[in-house]
Amino acid sequence: MGTDAETMPKPPQGGLNIAPYKTDVDPIWCPGCGDFGVLTCIYRMLATKQIRPEETVVVSGIGCSSRLPAYVNAYGFHTVHGRVLPVATGVKTANPKLEVIAVGGDGDAYSIGAGHIPHAARRNIDVCYIVMDNEVYGLTKGQGSATAPVEMVKGTTPFGQLDDPLNPIAVAVAYDISFVARGYSGKPKELTDLIIQGVEHKGFALIEVLSPCTTFHDIYKPTSQRIRFVDSSHDPFDRIAAMKLAFEKETIPLGVIYKSQRSSFDERIEETKKRAQIKGAGDLNKVLDVFQ
């Protein structure tokens, strides 16, 4: 807790030192959990970009993956179920100098929190949102989530799911989220690169990460078989092409799916301050004068 990145011993030249970003708290995750991989990729992103721990805020909701902020040596805010995006919006808007990363699972993001996603997209908040998708609610012992396949039989759905699965990439492209990517905890090198791109993107970045749950829904094998990497033949600025990738059925495309360039929320907020102050900075006496 509270270690300074600068006072840690530097690694031998050429290596990446992630030690400054680790805390001594043991993750609650089961052995083999995909979230371990995602956590390591987040450490690697921070170490690569040499972001200072005290200038980073990791915000999360509720769930196994939402425990992540306690495992990162940075400021963190472990909030309530589904509200990570509006809290992150408050953090980033009040102090735009901070690097704000939002994390959570598919339960937090696509069920209770789903209503906040379009507005984060509309505002284009400069936050990178990493969703660890395992198709179940792990912490409550494995109910099907919004991305669960229809055949899934679990405690609360003993006859199979009664709802069809949501398509997060299609939703993300439809909401015009300005950076949409899909990664896999089993492919850490590529995932680290996506997270770096997401953090560097000036605007809202959603990185949907396949992060299987070994305890309640172990789909490592079929996932590894179905993934394919998107190559340079795909133009991420082409929204229709991106939507087509979202509708792929047999294979799961990984990589940057969709990108767009537009002003971020804190740029727009800055603009309102500039425009409001055209006639001078705020003066409480002038405010009261109006009521004279």
Binding site: M1, G2, D4, V25, P53, E54, E55, T56, V57, V58, V59, P69, A70, N73, A74, Y75, G76, F77, H78, T79, V80, R83, P86, V87, A88, T89, G90, V91, K92, T93, A94, N95, K97, L98, G115, H116, P118, H119, I269, T272, K273, R275, A276, Q277, G280, A281, G282, D283, L284, N285, V287, L288, F291, Q292
Partner: protein, 577 residues
């Protein structure tokens, strides 16, 4: 000549009843008079009954008065609704004779004005009806004509010369109609007086201005009647001070954003009404558990559920005290006047940062939309508190929730080296690691509640009015302070011995309130709700019985209603002797 005049204007929503009232208000204020208003909107955009009551006087006003001296009816409905409350002997009735027929029992002094006809046929624009009435009021009661013209120019100038001239003509039409058709038979006059350093504004405006003075630099909210104008005011002004205003997608998002901003050290606020505060319950819990300062304003309206959005009530006290599962440390305050809205919100921000808790501030439609003249706040008297900052020693091994004497732990902010910690809604130990240890939960809960004691040491926790050696006590809270005070003054003049105690902090409960109650023979608790919420709190916490006096009409108390209750209780005491 009577210069304490209560004007009551009623008519159909969309006919300009409210603007007419606002122009009268502003004109009287600019003539140096004290003013106090109460308005009632219909819930929809057009149609329904709208009412504006403005009282003007040379003396400082405590209420909008009990009954109207001058009743102005734009239509039959306004007449039918108000005639039973009018004093036949000395009130004045002004009515639109085109659309309104006064029945038996109307006041002796009446001035029928065919306003609808004049508007349609001579002005050729029905919407000038309210300005015609303005001209009528100017000639009859001496409301300064030139000042009214200036106000019309200020408010309507942007609509262009054609509209402006039409309105000037309508004003003249009303004025001349009275000149040509009536001799004044009543004693009411608005008389100019010299006044200094007064401003006229609404409860919501005073609250918003006060928030800026308090250092608020982040606001997130969702529009809801009657809190929306707070957000509109801050959306225009806060960016001038380098602050941000976000219109959130819902009230859950609004309070979430406030907590995110507060986590970075910003003074942050949201304002809503009953339905929105209901949505915020879970986040209030997070604020309490993560020990984050937050100011949450509830402009109460009639409930429950959608209720009566444009009517006043004081029925959210239960919610303010107890919303959110578990036991959440919080402070609950109520604003008692337009002036108190300015200074009270500053106290709210100070309490929030001093105790690191959510502070729920209760206002209501009656106060939010009331305009009154107040002393221009002396900004040099404003004191702003800052959070307890960690020392260099704290930072060597920073523990966000370190146990301290007062329960308040120094709060590190993102950007500060050495202070990294993860705030959480899960029970945690001093170092903010998750903890399920039994002893820890007990100690942490005690710590979180102990902080609230810091409020009880401050100033402006309550106001006391009336007799020093009272038999009857009357306790009110929130916007009824002035009304109660006016009634208590009348009662004491009649020889009753009454004192009023008006707490501004409702939780934690004030020890001074207990002392006051136990020093009276009988105590009335007056509030605008059905179940007597504050009366119940008093009984539960102090173990004393009180007389609960409630009203559930979507309207505020009048001084006469309170006086009547005081007289009744006085009788009870006298008959037992």
């Amino acid at each position: 000549m009577q210069n304490d005049v209560v004007f009551k204007i009623g008519g159909e929503g969309g006919e300009g009843v409210i603007s007419c009232g606002e122009f009268v208000t502003l004109a009287c204020a600019r003539m140096g008079n004290e003013i106090y208003t109460f308005r009632s909107y219909p819930a929809e955009i057009k149609g329904g009954y709208a009412m504006f009551q403005v009282r003007t006087s040379h003396e400082v006003l405590l209420s909008q008065g009990s009954s109207a001296d001058v009743l102005v009816c734009f239509n039959q409905e306004a007449y039918d609704r108000n005639i039973k409350d009018i004093r036949k002997e000395d009130s004045v009735l002004i009515y639109d004779s085109t659309s309104c027929q006064p029945r038996e029992g109307h006041p002796e002094i009446t001035y029928p004005i065919p306003a609808s006809d004049l508007a349609r046929l001579e002005m050729r624009n029905y919407l000038t009806k309210n300005v015609i009435f303005l001209g009528v009021l100017s000639k009859l009661f001496g409301i300064d004509y030139a000042i009214l013209e200036t106000i019309i120019k200020q408010k309507l100038g942007k609509k262009g010369d054609a509209i402006l001239n039409l309105n000037f003509q309508a004003l003249k039409k009303g004025y001349q109609y009275v000149e040509q058709n009536f001799t004044k038979k009543d004693p009411y006059f608005v008389v100019p007086q010299k006044s200094e350093n007064r401003i006229v504004l609404s409860g919501n405006q005073a609250l918003a201005a006060g928030a800026i003075a308090a250092g608020c630099r982040f606001y997130a909210g969702y529009p809801i009647t009657p809190a929306t104008d707070i957000m509109e005011f801050l959306a225009r002004e806060l960016p001038k001070f380098g602050g941000s205003v976000v219109q959130a997608e819902d009230e859950i998002a609004a309070l979430s954003m406030v907590l995110g901003a507060s986590y970075t050290g910003a003074k942050a606020m949201t304002a809503s009404s009953g339905p929105g505060i209901s949505l915020m319950a879970e986040l209030i819990g997070l604020a309490g558990m993560a020990e984050l300062p937050a100011v949450i304003v509830d402009c109460q309206r009639a409930g429950p559920s959608t209720g009566m959005p444009t009517k006043t009530e004081q029925s959210d006290l239960n919610h303010a005290l107890y919303a959110g599962h578990g036991e959440i440390p919080r402070i609950v305050m109520a604003l008692s006047s337009v002036e108190d809205a300015f200074f009270g919100i500053i106290r709210a921000f100070n309490y929030a940062v001093r105790c690191q808790v959510p502070v729920i501030v209760l206002s209501d439609q009656y106060l939010a939309q009331r305009t009154a003249t107040i002393r221009r706040p002396d900004l040099s008297k404003v004191v702003i508190e800052e959070r307890a900052k960690p020392s260099a020693q704290d930072m060597e091994n920073y523990k966000r929730f370190r146990f301290t004497e007062t329960g308040v732990s120094p709060m590190a902010l993102p950007g500060e080296k050495g202070g990294v910690y993860t705030a959480t809604g899960i029970e945690h130990d001093e170092g903010c690691e998750l903890s399920y240890e039994p002893e820890n939960h007990q100690r942490m809960t005690e710590k979180r509640f102990k902080k609230l004691n810091l409020v009880l040491k401050g100033a402006e926790l309550y106001r006391r009015h009336g007799s020093e050696d009272q038999e009857i006590g009357i306790v009110g809270w929130g916007s009824s302070e002035g009304v109660i005070r006016e009634a208590v003054e009348k009662a004491n003049k009649q020889g009753l011995k009454v004192a009023a105690f008006h707490p501004k902090v409702l939780f934690p409960m004030l020890p001074e309130l207990e002392v006051f109650i136990k020093s009276c023979k009988k105590v009335i608790v007056a509030e605008l709700n059905y179940t007597g919420q504050f009366a119940r709190e008093i009984r539960a916490r102090f173990g004393v019985n009180v007389i609960s006096h409630t009203k559930l009409a979507g309207l505020p108390f009048t001084p006469d209603e309170i006086l009547k209750k005081l007289e009744e209780v006085h009788e009870q005491i006298a008959s037992k002797v």
